[in-house]
Symmetry: C2
Amino acid sequence: MTAARAHEEARLARVRLTRIVEPGWEVAGRWLREFGPVETVRRIDEADAGADGPMPLPGVRAERWAGLLARARESPPPERDLARVEDIGARFVCPGDAEWPGQLDDLGDERPLGLWVRGGAGLRMWALRSVAVVGARACTDYGVRMGASIGAGLAERGWVVVSGGAYGVDAAAHRGALGAAGATIAVLACGVDRAYPRGHAQLIDRIAEQGLVVGELPPGDHPTPSRFILRNRVIAALTRGTVVVEAAYRSGALGTARWAQRLGRHAMGVPGPVTSAVSAGVHELLRKEGVLVTDAEEVVELVGEMGELAPERHGPVLPRDLLPRATARVLAALPARGVLSVAEIACGAGTSADDTIGRLYELRSLGFVERHGDGWQLTRQAIRSVFSDGGAS
Amino acid sequence: MTAARAHEEARLARVRLTRIVEPGWEVAGRWLREFGPVETVRRIDEADAGADGPMPLPGVRAERWAGLLARARESPPPERDLARVEDIGARFVCPGDAEWPGQLDDLGDERPLGLWVRGGAGLRMWALRSVAVVGARACTDYGVRMGASIGAGLAERGWVVVSGGAYGVDAAAHRGALGAAGATIAVLACGVDRAYPRGHAQLIDRIAEQGLVVGELPPGDHPTPSRFILRNRVIAALTRGTVVVEAAYRSGALGTARWAQRLGRHAMGVPGPVTSAVSAGVHELLRKEGVLVTDAEEVVELVGEMGELAPERHGPVLPRDLLPRATARVLAALPARGVLSVAEIACGAGTSADDTIGRLYELRSLGFVERHGDGWQLTRQAIRSVFSDGGAS
């Protein structure tokens, strides 16, 4: 069996497993590490088909095992799930794929089985230069203002804004990025074909067009309280840091910040009035080694410290020749000197503005372009590479 | 010459010097260290009386020296200054006095020559358990609210609130403490017989009755911009920590916090909305190792860490027999069990409420009593000492 074929089999097994086990379940993580996804699925199916016997996979209590077998029995073939998301322009990205964001591996056995991804941009490239902006659903006007301004400010500086698609601060952060012709990723606690909350159906569609909508749950799945909590670990792991804008004590947003700290990412907080209950959680974070930030500039100052890309960890920077053709066309639409708007670049590359935004932020992560206010230009390094006879940088 | 007589001479020389040199002038600090106050004054007077000759004190430029001699010539005899402040119930406290707060020595050559003190309580004892609460003159309602609530909260926990008597946050902090039947110290940048700002004449009188009004400047002297700045070092040095409630960039309150940091005291800040210009300075402080606090409880948690009293530094805890008689009467008015109000204690001790408050906070610093809400009671240690046959603890 070829390596490509083996990877395809593993992918199908992983898709299947997203129907059988809950996100972030360490026990399943150990099975995958020990037996691999294909063998894990085989053992589940065999146990389901066969008679009573010793449990073929370790670390799980009988009742839970029974529930798991029931879910395995009812789950559709993985090919059908893949076809189903293809209809809405989505795909399944898993470890081993070129698009897999390597930093999720920091989650160890709690690493997602894979991520369902809806939208045109490359998740891996986008996640390399991303920051989470999260906060209270029931936020104040101040929270909306700060979420939007930090979202927009990050986008204007070429950073990708990751949030949870919820009401309140999350929505403000997404909208801030969208409104600044920026890149944003919504990490959902349900299937990427579902809009949750319902009132955000349009927002989530818009994010899927200009940005990315991702999640661990298979198509059609509903969010649950524990899924929200586990979703937060993905937000924290995907990004270089988490900014909390308004959060009450014990809120989910604080959980994301704690995950960020545990994973060695920056945990940041935007202060507010001491007299506001939805700033109390942020202040608690800031008293526990969280870093106080007041604008996007300060966020970038902090997360940018990690340096541009970390090739030894995320793979080498792509030489120009290896860029996907459509991305290379966007790159080619930029002149040696001067700044162009997204619309101008889209025109030159013969594609849509949304597609252009996606590819520009990918090129940003690769060090080819940089954003200045509302326009984009080649980096010095890219000019050398693109306009030299030598070809690849 | 007896030691007492020598100390009196040194005191008169220091009083005289407060008329001749500006507060916190390092050069004069070096003179005092090298020659002592008496010899320093003698050299100045001799140079003033005599003909041109080499400068008898080092480190000062000719123009400044001439100005200094002119001030020496015009200054009244120190006895007159002392008599003048006695009329308003004030005194001059200087190094070597039992009431001198030893922690001011941390200022080195910038240590005050002495402090003019108006009010009944003992400065040294009060300063041992004190916290500065400072902030913007042009503060918002939020600043007033937080200044007042932290001032009151510290007073209720038996801590002395130190501030600068200014409009805005300072006044709120003083009023918070006064309103909670607490102890507060106003450190002025002018003579303690003056009310600055004018609009605070009543407030400052009230502080002098229930608390203490102190300053480095001799009676009648006016505040100047540089005197405000130098006053802040006294606030920082006198206290265990400085809480900044609202401060714009480059504000005086931030200067106080920086002094606190330099002197190894706690620098704390109360966060506010990022959108408020008078919180910008506080947030800057919090990004530079200042500690975020949201209420008096958190302040006490931090400054209390230094431990109750540090005998090796501030002198031994007084045994009960050595307490001033009036203070001993207040102590004697407290029962072995139970909590009394200030009014009840005052009645039992046969003195005024203001006087009682002053002595209670002194006894608090000495570990004899503790405050619970609006009442006071003996500490366990004091009960052993006061009601045992053994006498002194």
